[in-house]
Each structure stands twice: as structure tokens, then as C-alpha cells.
């Protein structure tokens, strides 16, 4: 085995030109496909403050129907409904309820210029589900929320704009003409952590949004996120949510509306796949379509690389024939050829992956800007967001597929050629 590796290295060195071209081509194709993967992965990847994403279940919206009629309503819930349906679940670690969308708030300090910022209204558990990094002060808790205290958490940039410093805990300001106190200052959040992104967070009891309800107070402006102890508990949590829903449906009977789950709460991936609140996301179809896209993205370079492998093999016909003459089996030869090419693809894959991380980092605004967004803030990415084990695993997986596709036909043909003809380069 070691000997074969060594011989493969010698081989690759002796065909330096083809090796370099092969590595470059492979690296570029891995690079392209990895940019596509990252665009998607970043939306589900765990990083602060969404480190718990793999353990999270989302009830961004709810659906209600009038039974035996076509009437239905799909959208954010009222705080009341969200609490009844998703608050304090026994099977989960905790859950949080917060506004489904950002609102624009105007913030002022005496003598300062007004600062307009994206505001998210939340409960107290929000700060236990999401792991924000506090630079000063601390979050507000559920007691403060229940008491409708006018406290706020603001992000670093907003703190600088308002107070000229991040050390702003305890400072006072006006938010939409009401007095608020800064409870804490957090590090800026990327817009890609879209569900919890904001510049300022306040208790959901302190703004009129909580009174924004319809459909007999059942629907409103809030979403719920459930944090499981482990993703293994998802099924149990969904079951408990269904039980909760049946119980809640009994208490709201006279409204005529009944909640239906549509498989909620969803994983982050399902949330992304689900375009519409009234249709259950179809993860299977989505994943299949995505694999097809990836395959197409791989097949095109694979065909090119296959041509290169073919010419590499042609140059080596004599060698292959001689090895066969001295007892190299067809299967051994195939293994050797795949192994050699795998070395190229893995080296190239690492380069391509590194390129894609660098590219995504440098051109994040252009790459990650969404057509539809809650905010005008430009997306920013950090290396922590981009360098994920999952994307790395994707890259390696692509390398293997690319290797199989580009080496398969040439290697198979090489192993089948007549030994005498190969030795005599006929």
C-alpha cells in the first residue's frame, strides 16, 4: 500500500504538466460547487449566536382552518397561541417566542442624532436559546418581560452610534419616544442568522406588536423556536406539540378555528425549503433536486477531467502493459489508478475548498445578499460561519464522486486493453 502511494507520487511527478492541469481543473470545479454549497449551508450551519441550530425546531408560522370549509389562515401566531402551543414543553430543553419579523425603531439620546435600527421583540428565554456574545451588561429575563420593563439589548454598532462606546449597559435612550435602559450590548450579528438578527432587542410586552392579532386573537406576529436536548428528541417533541395543539383546539372551539400542524415544528432545513406557510415543506424532493443540480455541476468538469485522465493513460499504456505482464491483476490496476487520481482530487479538493472559503469571505455581500430580506443591513460572514465540518464533508464527497466519474471510463479501458498491444504502444 505504502509502496503504491510512493509509486503513484513518482508517477504524478513524472507527468508534471498533466498533474498540474488536472489539479487546477479539479480545484476550480470543486471551488465552484463549494460556493453553491456554502450559499445553502450558511443558512443552516451552526455558529454563534445560532450554535444550537442542529437542536432547534421552528414554528415560524401556524395554520388554522375552519373544519369542513375551505377557510384557512397561515402566518405568525399571537403571543397567547404561541405560549399555549410551544411554551414550556416537557420533552424539550426550552423554547422561545419572539416576533416573526423586524420592525424599524428610531432611537435617540439627548443631544444626539436619531438612529434608526432593526428591532426584534422577544421573550426572556430568547437569550438562553441563542448564544449571543455579551460585550457589556446582560440580557433581560422572563421576569422583566412579564413585567413589561423598558429594557433593551443593543448590538455593538448601534451602541457605538448612540453612545460612542460599547460599554453602554445602564445607559438610557428613547426608543420610538419611550424611555428604555440598555441591559446589555452584544457583538454584531450577521444577517445570515436571519431568525435572531436585529440591532436592538426589547421585551415583546413593551411594544404594540403584541396587540396585533386577528382571527379571534389566535394569529398575530410571533414565532416559536424549540430547543431540544438532542435532535433525537425531535419526534417526541412533535408528538407533544400535537398533543398541545389538540388541547388548545378544545379551548378555542367557540372561535370556529382549529389549528393544524402541517408537520410543525420544522427543522431549519425544512424552514428554508418551505416557501409557503400553507404547504408542508417537501424535504425529499428538495434534497433530490439539489443532488441533481450537484451532479450536473460535477458531470461537466468530470467529462473534461476524464479526457485528461484518458491522455494520462495513453502516455502510460506501455507501463500499464508491463505491470500487467508481470502479474498485476485487472482489479489491482483499477485500484491503483483510482488511488492515484484520488490523490489528485483530494489535493485539488482542499485547494478548491480553501478558495471557496476565501472567495465567500471576500465577496460575502454580493454572494449572500437575499432577494427578499427583512433588513437593509448588508450580509456579513465570518470564517466561523464558513468553515463548517459539514461543508468540508461535502467537498470531500464531491472529490470522490468527481474521481469516480473522471477516472472510471479511462481506467476501465486501460485495464481491459490487450497487454501485448499496450506494451508495444499500439
Amino acid at each position: 500500500m505504502r509502496e503504491m502511494m510512493r509509486q503513484a507520487m513518482a508517477q504524478l511527478r513524472s507527468q508534471r504538466m498533466l498533474t498540474v492541469v488536472g489539479i487546477t481543473g479539479t480545484a476550480l470545479s470543486i471551488f465552484l460547487i463549494m460556493v453553491v454549497v456554502m450559499l445553502q449551508q450558511v443558512k443552516v450551519a451552526p455558529y454563534a449566536p445560532v450554535s444550537n441550530r442542529p437542536r432547534m425546531l421552528y414554528a415560524q408560522y401556524a395554520s388554522i382552518v375552519v373544519e369542513n370549509t375551505p377557510y384557512q389562515s397561515n402566518g405568525p401566531m399571537s403571543y397567547e397561541s404561541a405560549k399555549e402551543l410551544y411554551g414550556n414543553l416537557e420533552t424539550a430543553e426550552r423554547s422561545t417566542i419572539f416576533a416573526s419579523y423586524l420592525t424599524v425603531a428610531t432611537m435617540t439620546v439627548p443631544g444626539g442624532r436619531p438612529v434608526s435600527a432593526d428591532m426584534l421583540t422577544t421573550d426572556g428565554e430568547f437569550w438562553n436559546v441563542y448564544d449571543f456574545t455579551f460585550l457589556s451588561g446582560k440580557p433581560y429575563d422572563q421576569t422583566a418581560v412579564d413585567a413589561a420593563q423598558h429594557v433593551a439589548v443593543i448590538d455593538e454598532s448601534t451602541a457605538r452610534r448612540l453612545f460612542g462606546s460599547t460599554d453602554a449597559a445602564g445607559r438610557e435612550f428613547q426608543l420610538n419616544h419611550s424611555p428604555y435602559t440598555v441591559a446589555g450590548v452584544v457583538r454584531d450579528v450577521s444577517t445570515l442568522a436571519e431568525e435572531c438578527f436585529a440591532h436592538v432587542w426589547v421585551p415583546l410586552t413593551t411594544t404594540p406588536l403584541i396587540n396585533n392579532t386577528w382571527n379571534s386573537y389566535l394569529m398575530g406576529s410571533f414565532s416559536a423556536v424549540v430547543l431540544a436536548k438532542s435532535s433525537d428528541d425531535f419526534a417526541a417533541i412533535r408528538e407533544e406539540c400535537d398533543r398541545r395543539m389538540r388541547a388548545y383546539n378544545k379551548t378555542v372551539k367557540e372561535s370556529n378555528w382549529q389549528f393544524i400542524s402541517r408537520g410543525r415544528p420544522y427543522t431549519k432545513e425544512e424552514v428554508l425549503v418551505g416557501q409557503w406557510a400553507n404547504v408542508e415543506p417537501d424535504l425529499k424532493t428538495y434534497r433530490r433536486d439539489r443532488l441533481i443540480v450537484f451532479l450536473i455541476l460535477l458531470i461537466v468538469p468530470a467529462i473534461n477531467l476524464s479526457g485528461m485522465t484518458e491522455s494520462r493513460m495513453r502516455q502510460r499504456r506501455e507501463e500499464i502493459g508491463v505491470r500487467r505482464a508481470f502479474g498485476c491483476k485487472r482489479s489491482t490496476l483499477l485500484m491503483q489508478l483510482f488511488g492515484e487520481n484520488l490523490m489528485i482530487t483530494v489535493v485539488a479538493g482542499l485547494i478548491g475548498w480553501a478558495l471557496s472559503v476565501g472567495f465567500a469571505y471576500l465577496f460575502s455581500t454580493m454572494l449572500f445578499l437575499e432577494g427578499y430580506s427583512n433588513t437593509l443591513t448588508m450580509p456579513k460572514v465570518s470564517l466561523e460561519m464558513l468553515v463548517q465540518p459539514s461543508t468540508f464533508a461535502w467537498a470531500l464527497g464531491f472529490c470522490f464522486v468527481l474521481n469516480l466519474l473522471s477516472t472510471g471510463v479511462p481506467a476501465w479501458r486501460a485495464s481491459r486493453t490487450n497487454i501485448v498491444n499496450a506494451i508495444n504502444k499500439k
Binding site: E319, G327, C328
Partner: protein, 224 residues
């Protein structure tokens, strides 16, 4: 019973335009330890015969027995193992692997033999290189050697796995007479001292006369 037996072997090369009858009903029997020369005009089928004996190509009809074993219908894997253990090849134009140094070239057949450890491979390769007088060129590339040295490396490669049979197709064809003589002497040593069976194709009468027996071909037929 010979170590090599060809029974009614014919070989027809078919291409789109022509059919070439390269061997026609050939019967050859070679004993263990014999040194046999194969002679005949160009295109008469000498290389074809050697390739069939070497199990590199299959006859169109007829049977090939090596060491009493019928090789007809053997799987690729069995044929490969058989070649690896029983046969060693020496070619007219050496066919060393250019990307590998001399030692690696000689070790190559042992890579395909089950259960030979790396250190053992190196030891065996060094021993045969010593024997062909090239210990001092182990880390050279084939391109840095003379033709005669290349052919000696090729002979070392052919015998490193200790095969009973050596098949040499015009081993001195690309060498000047002095280097050719060195190579011939080496082959005779392998025949006399180790008792290896050698089948050699040659155009050189003098070389052929020094061997135990000459088999002559003309137009695919054995004439003597």
C-alpha cells in the same frame, strides 16, 4: 512432459480489413531447464508465439500448458498470479518504467505477489541487482543508464520473483555486440546455474547456436 507445451496452436489476427494467420497449427514442447532459440524471418510469428507462451495473449485455437497446467479459461486474476510466479519477461526495448528508479523497477513484480513485505522486496531486488552487476546504479533512473545496463535491469526484474521460465524477445536486438554478449552471458548463467528454462527469439545465428535447441518458423509454420 515439458514445462511448456503448445498443442495445435493457431493465432489469427483479425482487423476490419485483413485477417492475418500469424501461427498455424504449432506444436512445441520445451523441457524444464532447456535454453531454446526461436528463429525465422520478420513477421513469421515469433513474437506472437512468445506472447502466447507468456500468457499475454490467447491463441485463437489450440492449448497452452505451462508446468502441466492448462491455461485455457483461467480468470484474469488466476492468469495474473500465474504469470507473476512462473514467468519473467525480457523485451527488445527493455520497457522499464521511466518514472521509477532502478530498484523500484526491479521490485515491481513483487508488488503483485501476495505477502511479500517491503523490506523483503528491497532485499530481494538488491540481491538480483548485485547478480547482474548493477548494485551501484540502484537509484538511477532508466534514462540515465546505457542500453546494456537497461537490459540487465530488465533481466533483474524478470528473475526477481524467481520464475522458472524466462521469455526473451530479441533481448540483444537494441544492443551493440559487446553489450549483447554481456546480456547473453547473463542469460546462459541463469540457465546453467539456476536451471531456469529460457525461450529466446533471436535473429543472430551465432547466439542461437550457443543454445540447446533452435526452433525455426516460416510464415507462421514451424519448419524445424
Amino acid at each position: 512432459m515439458g514445462i511448456i507445451e503448445l498443442k495445435e496452436v493457431s493465432k489469427i489476427y483479425r482487423t476490419d480489413e485483413v485477417e492475418t494467420l500469424a501461427l498455424e497449427n504449432v506444436n512445441v514442447d520445451i523441457d524444464k531447464g532447456e535454453f531454446v532459440s526461436i528463429m525465422g524471418p520478420s513477421g513469421c510469428g515469433k513474437s506472437t508465439l512468445l506472447n502466447i507462451v507468456g500468457l499475454l495473449d490467447a491463441p485463437t485455437t489450440g492449448r497452452v500448458l505451462i508446468d502441466g497446467t492448462t491455461t485455457e479459461g483461467m480468470s484474469d486474476s488466476a492468469l495474473s498470479a500465474f504469470r507473476n510466479s512462473k514467468l519473467g519477461f525480457v523485451f527488445q526495448s527493455f520497457h522499464l518504467i521511466g518514472s521509477l528508479n532502478v530498484l523500484d523497477n526491479v521490485e515491481m513484480p513483487l508488488l503483485y505477489r501476495h505477502g511479500v513485505k517491503g523490506s523483503e522486496r528491497t532485499r530481494m531486488a538488491k540481491a538480483v541487482l548485485e547478480r547482474v552487476g548493477l548494485s551501484h546504479r540502484m537509484y538511477h533512473r532508466p534514462a540515465q543508464l546505457s542500453g546494456g545496463q537497461c537490459q540487465r535491469v530488465a533481466i533483474a526484474r524478470a528473475i526477481v520473483g524467481n520464475p522458472e521460465i524466462i521469455l526473451a524477445d530479441e533481448p540483444t536486438g537494441n544492443l551493440d555486440s559487446r553489450m549483447g554478449a554481456e546480456v547473453m552471458q547473463l542469460l546462459h548463467e541463469l540457465n546453467k546455474e539456476d536451471g531456469r528454462t529460457i525461450v529466446m527469439v533471436t535473429h543472430n545465428d551465432e547466439q542461437a547456436r550457443m543454445t540447446d535447441r533452435i526452433v525455426r518458423f516460416f510464415d507462421g509454420r514451424q519448419v524445424q
